[in-house]
Amino acid sequence: MIDVQERPAPGPAEAPAWRHKDLLDTDVLSRADIDLVMETADAMLEVRSRPVAKVATLRGATVVTLFYEQSTRTRASFEVAAKAMGADVVNLTASGSSVVKGESLVDTVRTLEAIGADLLVMRHDRSGAPYLAAKNTKAGVINGGDGTHAHPTQALLDLFTMRRHLGALDGKKVVIVGDVLHSRVARSNVWSLLAAGANVTLCGPATLLPRTLASAGGEEGRVALTADLDRALVDADVVMALRIQKERQATGLIPSLREYINGYQVNATRLARAKPGALVMHPGPMNEGIEISPEAAHGLASVIEEQVANGVAVRMAVLYLMATARTK
């Protein structure tokens, strides 16, 4: 562990102006909030590049990850982020806890607070569940993905990755392709991208598009919806493919994976319509050969692995800002 005095904690010199008890979605974040996360994450990325990639900023803090749904990367990313700042981390999954004995979410959350959890990172398969948790605990709640609603840290790490390559996003065109209707990643990205000044095009089969979300872009029409990927990609600065769940075929939302691939796979032919060098992104885990071709996933324009690495820095920033706000 590196001494805090010797290697000062990253982040702005003065106490950061973070006002949120919880991070449940990006929709309530101002541009200043987002800038603060981005600047803090820049500093965290620097920490991660050190030979001993750790600081003691969160020493004494207890971070609990409470996962009601399977996850590898998000849970691991949060755990690494918390440990990199010296926090104690407790990992709980629904299958290995009293949840299987029928304990309610509210009781679980209150118990964890009583045990001493300062921050609760929660993944849940039901939309809105973290809101219920946040309402019923003094601990700070970070939404690690809820149902088909929101995934704010994914959106922030996506934004962070875009900004590192493109700089300010004002007026940039981001195309999100796939099962937008059921995507918590897409929803949270819409709010953070709008706050950052970008324009968003949501593209997918008509059955998988949220028809009313275009109104989120306001009168300037900064959110567009289309079922035509070739047209969507024109002048795109960023192309983000979403994971397609195989069960969408079983429920009849798409006729077949073949039809999906023909219409919506992000591949070299399609990418030729975007701006040269347009970033290729994916929140993972990928179905290579379905929503994205292996060539596109691993090509020169792909920043998919970088997203994962940046995820740790962004989650460090979020944990740091929230823990600091609590001690004030």
Binding site: D27, V106, R126, S127, L132, T212, L213
Partner: protein, 440 residues
Amino acid sequence: MTDLLISGGRVIDPANGLDAQLDVLLRDGRVSAVGKSLFASDSVRYDVTGCIVTPGFVDLHAHLREPGFEQKGTIATETLAALRGGFTTICAMPNTVPAPDSAPVVKALLERIGADARVRVFPIGAVTRGRDGKALANLAEAAGAGCVAFSDDGSPVADGQLMRNALTLLGSLGLPLSEHSDDPVLNAGGVMNEGRVSERLGLAGQPAAAEVTAIARNLALAEATGGRLHVAHITTARGLELVAEAKARGLAVTCEVTPSHLFLTEDAVFGPGPAPAYDTNAKINPPLRTEADRQALIRGLNEGIIDAIATDHAPHAREDKLCEFDYAAPGIACFETAAGTLLTQVARGELDLVRVIAALTAQPARAWKLDARVAGLGTLSPGAPGDIVILDPAMEWTVDTRTFATKGKNTPLQGTSLTGGVRAVIMGGVVAHEVEVAHD
């Protein structure tokens, strides 16, 4: 029994075309006379100056939870809540365990009602055995035991053939089938209205089309069979148009709307803040719809297309609502806020007062021919039951679930300020509920 002379109020009795400053004399627990400046020796004068005097409300759609779900509500608690809300006659939906699908179950239910109920309760029988949607219940037997209508409420009778047979058999008995019109396949997994808010919240939606197509099917089956279809808790503008069209063609169809769907929209799920509330107390089935739907329901009521305002009072225990939105039980405890929200909408100029009173009294009684079971029910005709509601249109109050008599504290209206409410309720000629009013 002392005679009661209710004087000084504005009497609204739609069945008799009355809306004037009149006195009402109750004798031996029944309406004896309605007229100007009545006098009766030995009567107690009950001054209701400034208030509205109406027949006791008749609710075609309430959930009492007993037997089977006494943690949510009992006949004793929920009928007390009904009384306090002005509902002196209520029809109890059959989603209990056991469901009233045969004479013995109905008889046992009526015994409990006789022992515990604070208001008049008519049981509604299940259309299918155990409300499982698979085989018809013993309809004639349950009707003989006292069921006034039939419904699988909470679920539709999804099987079209079963619905056709039920309408045919009930038609021959002259009894209405109150149908929760929706298409369970289109609604699969849905937990709120499909649209702007559901997409925003990532919640699975119940499309308006699921109600509209079900109403269209049910109207076609009612027409083919001559059955008496009652469309329960209608929520969609288009569904209402279909009902209006069927009525215009002379079909024996009736429909009801809930105070919740008249007062609230899908936005109640999101809540008032910048961040979503996922308010499980605003989860109801059928769901709160759009503002355009709400406006259509208001028009439908004011134009007399909607026959009844029915509460769909649905009490739930705390844990049924204090959970993930998807898992929360649908329903709103409505008895004790219904008059308040309706009068508030009258005060806003949204709803016509006389239409509202008609839809709470004479029209529901007539729609299900309850006035043939209890003479004069829903009216102030001589000989009618001495069940009277005294409404104070100027009462300013704030919904506080701690004051509720119902076990269900589940309402999205907690903390809402309302204009107008129930001042007193007279049941069988006796003042059974009275709200204390602070005098300046």
